[in-house]
Symmetry: C2
Subunit: 330 residues, 2 copies
């Protein structure tokens, strides 16, 4: 299996994507194509000490910055690492793509070049959230921030396929993220999406509030990309703030509490692991005709390695074939 990695994507590129690719080549054993400034990448790779046989470099002279406007930058920077990586995937020179770069640009380049699966009008980013009981697939967390109600139905169908075939749920429950449980709650947009989902063949269980998502109230949760992104970032931000608060409180406390903290440390580590974005690493961009995995801009090398692992699973489970099959039935 060969994965193409955008070596210039993310806050600390190319150091982090290259280090993550090296970890993946060693641990997962896949082949890697690193796309970006050849000279710089080579320097980082040499420092990492290989495995050189499993990693090749494809030069790209431009980089799309995190703050650039997606559509314009993709159109203008044809030799950017994102555009070139997508081309490599399109030409079937790789099985999947991983990027921690400008999310909007990755979505735009993938949509324009790879095209969408039949029956999909907009792609959506799907994230697996850890909950109290079982993993929950939330789609969309930021690909499409101004969707139509119909797009949410399509997210439901794609999420259902993914939950069924990757997470092995027999008949996944699908819910609509809303600020109240009643079908009369929310904006007109949400109410229309509620009607479409209710009329579908999905195992739709109605609206779900954020609290219930954490309790494991549904297997698949659909929402507009703006809300989904806020959901994701509030979770991450709160997790960070809570750890920071805990550290401070412990610093301020007496030796007895400190002693206690040392004893409970393994428990915290185990909790942090569950909510840590580093652990799940990458989120698939569902609906495009190709396997594109988006990693967090602040990802470290372990997160990049895990994103590459997710991309390999996406290949092995034939997710896109299952989505096409499901969509044909609608």
């Amino acid at each position: 299996m060969k994965i193409v990695v955008d070596a210039m994507g993310g806050d600390r590129a190319p150091a982090v994507p290259v280090a993550g690719a090296v970890l993946a080549a060693k641990e997962i054993g896949c082949d890697i194509i690193l796309v970006g400034c050849e000279k710089t990448i080579k320097g980082v790779l040499d420092k990492c000490g290989g495995p050189f046989g499993k990693i090749e470099i494809v030069n790209a002279s431009e980089t799309i910055r995190m703050d650039e406007q997606a559509a314009i930058s993709v159109r203008k920077k044809r030799d950017s690492s994102i555009v070139r990586a997508v081309e490599i995937l399109k030409n079937k020179e790789a099985d999947a793509l991983v990027s921690a770069g400008n999310t909007g640009a990755v979505v735009c380049a993938a949509t324009l070049s790879l095209r969408l699966l039949p029956g999909v009008d907009r792609p959506g980013i799907a994230v697996v959230f850890p909950t109290l009981t079982k993993p929950c697939l939330v789609i969309d967390v930021g690909a499409n921030i101004d969707p139509k109600p119909l797009h949410l139905l399509q997210y439901g169908i794609m999420g259902d396929a993914c939950s069924r075939h990757v997470l092995n749920k027999e008949r996944p429950t699908v819910a609509l993220l809303n600020i109240g449980e009643e079908s009369t709650k929310g904006t007109d947009f949400v109410k229309e999406a509620h009607i479409l989902l209710s009329e579908s063949k999905l195992n739709f269980i109605g609206n779900i509030e954020p609290k219930e998502v954490y309790e494991g109230g549904a297997d698949v949760v659909v929402c507009d990309g703006f809300i989904g992104n806020v959901f994701l970032k509030v979770t991450e931000g709160f997790a960070d703030a809570a750890s920071e608060l805990l550290k401070r409180e412990l610093k301020a406390s007496n030796w007895m509490t400190k002693f206690g903290a040392i004893l409970t440390l393994p428990t915290f580590k185990s909790i942090k692991k569950r909510v840590d974005a580093t652990e799940y690493g990458g989120a698939p961009l569902m609906g495009v005709d190709g396997r594109v995995i988006i990693a967090h801009g602040s990802a470290n090398d372990v997160a990049i390695k895990n994103a590459i692992k997710v991309s390999a699973e996406y290949v092995n489970h034939h997710v896109n074939a299952h989505i096409i099959e499901e969509l044909e039935n609608y």
Copy 2:
């Protein structure tokens, strides 16, 4: 000072609102009017054992349920506890109102009956979030789920006035909740609001991401009510889920960890207190010509007491007079 309390509002009414009112009468020393089914309220009050001299009951024969549509229920149920409580406030028989009932119905009844302050087109619910460094006022968290960009500017002005005069900030920083820091990020709605806020006299510092809100990146954060409500509920939901996870991990762990947990318990309690909705209790409905404090539907008696405390502060700080003053300057 006299506070009117909707005794039929909330998941466990009238027991909880009555018990909260009793606590407030004892601790804060204010007079209370309880509105709702007189007979039932009297029964609960008798069990609480007073103070009977400070609490009067006004009968209301109807109750608006949590799942009823706001506008319709307010128009039809003229003798509901919410509508009657708002009337009492309007007639200046009380200084402020507290309700844990159907939020939409409270917003609707207050807007229709009390009217809005000059220069305000829509009211907004303001919540004080605890952050790592200082309290942050987030407005709106659910009064207006489909706002215009102009409403967000008005929230900024009201939030600025409140932060200045209640939280004693000299020149509060105002930020716009968004999924990226750059002004090019977000929906057209958010971009338009960004322009209006940039052109205002406010100390506007641009977009803010959820993570930065927790870090104390701004004194006032404005957002549409749907997003704000998701923000609030994700925070609450995650806090609950994290405590639950912690409890489970500790149960599963060995005696050394358990011993450690007992020693660190005071630290957890201190953190929980900071993020606990019970502690801040009530959120003012800003922009209506009257002091209306909205409590959580799941509020317990301590939360209701704290909401009554917030309402007393709202009266003492002359927040509405300051808002009117600020709005006149725009």
